[in-house]
Subunit: 197 residues, 2 copies
Amino acid sequence: MVRPYLVTGMNITLRQQIERIVSLSNDEFEWVLSHFTEQYFKKHQIIINEGDYVQNDFYVVKGLIKSSHTNPDGKEHVIQFALEDWWITDPQAFHNQTKATLSVNCLEDSKVLSLTLDNKEKLCRELQKMEYFFLKKTTAGYIALQKRILCLISSTATERYYNLLDQYPGLIQRIPKSMLASYLGVSRETLSRLATI
Amino acid sequence: MVRPYLVTGMNITLRQQIERIVSLSNDEFEWVLSHFTEQYFKKHQIIINEGDYVQNDFYVVKGLIKSSHTNPDGKEHVIQFALEDWWITDPQAFHNQTKATLSVNCLEDSKVLSLTLDNKEKLCRELQKMEYFFLKKTTAGYIALQKRILCLISSTATERYYNLLDQYPGLIQRIPKSMLASYLGVSRETLSRLATI
DNA sequence: TTAAATTAGTGATAATTGTCCTTTATTACC
DNA sequence: GGTAATAAAGGACAATTATCACTAATTTAA
């Protein structure tokens, strides 16, 4: 059964992301897509609370979502921002089916495609190309995190800020500077002073 | 063809690591192992130089290896230490077959099992369990790096140091404190003062 | 075995960053 | 449309960390 409006329509970006790594027939993509659930969230809506069990990994179709950890004295530290075409969840809680240590919430009204762990494993088992795709994506993510670590241990706050602006020029218009500061590991006051240099 | 001395002998840890995730018959493990090359390196030996093409991912059988980046003014920043039963390489250069931006060298005489990218992809293609294994390992690595990032953006130097000692109590006996400092993103003088508290 | 290199600790000082505070501007929402 | 909430900037000061310099102990290697 082919549903061309889906293939050529609104989930084109997910298909493109997958096809940058492996090629899929229309039927294969339809089958892949059938393992996802479409969900809509409002700005400020909390998708995952620290302590929750985590049912899904989220592919962002539209909107902006962040993951963060809040320490005992109430300070929030941003782990990740996810714009369109990114994935986000609490990966530890999701993959090990344990309680979340991160919270995930929306900075804008968002549309996502949700994938349960069971469905992810089913995709991998039954279509090896999908396992290859996830391996490549996860490896790319690992490399990106190593770069962020190098930046954190080797660069000044100013360098880290301009590095972020370079990498994601669109981000600064959509995210409050206090959250960029949190992502960079500096106080919002310090970032405010850096940004005026 | 079964070679029991290998199965029960010196590469037992690699088999155990794989079998924590998927189970293998003796023949399967022999076949997997045949894709690796045994190599020996001396202390201070450079395995990968920045600028090199990277042929291998290295599984450490014995010894201690580090990866690091040296910035233009000559300061070295440690990305990773790899003890026995860990993997190490420049992952970006290895997976994309581009020039290394990290250098990899030995802190102790080391024995490794080297895996080329072609052989890794062959393992994944021909024995899906191995692709599942690499996906699980890479996912676990991703989660570990997210934790290190959270530590870097949310903890003081003192907290990061004691956190490292907690996680890897054996490390401090084998690694100069100047390198632990580099890994933690503080100067060796600062670490020296923290450690005496 | 001895000289050279590496490692570690510490003082003095400068630079960076955090914290607390107030003010102003902007945005969200009844 | 008006009030509340959020966001941003910056002053004043404290805390943290880096840098440079020097010494001592330990390890390495010819």
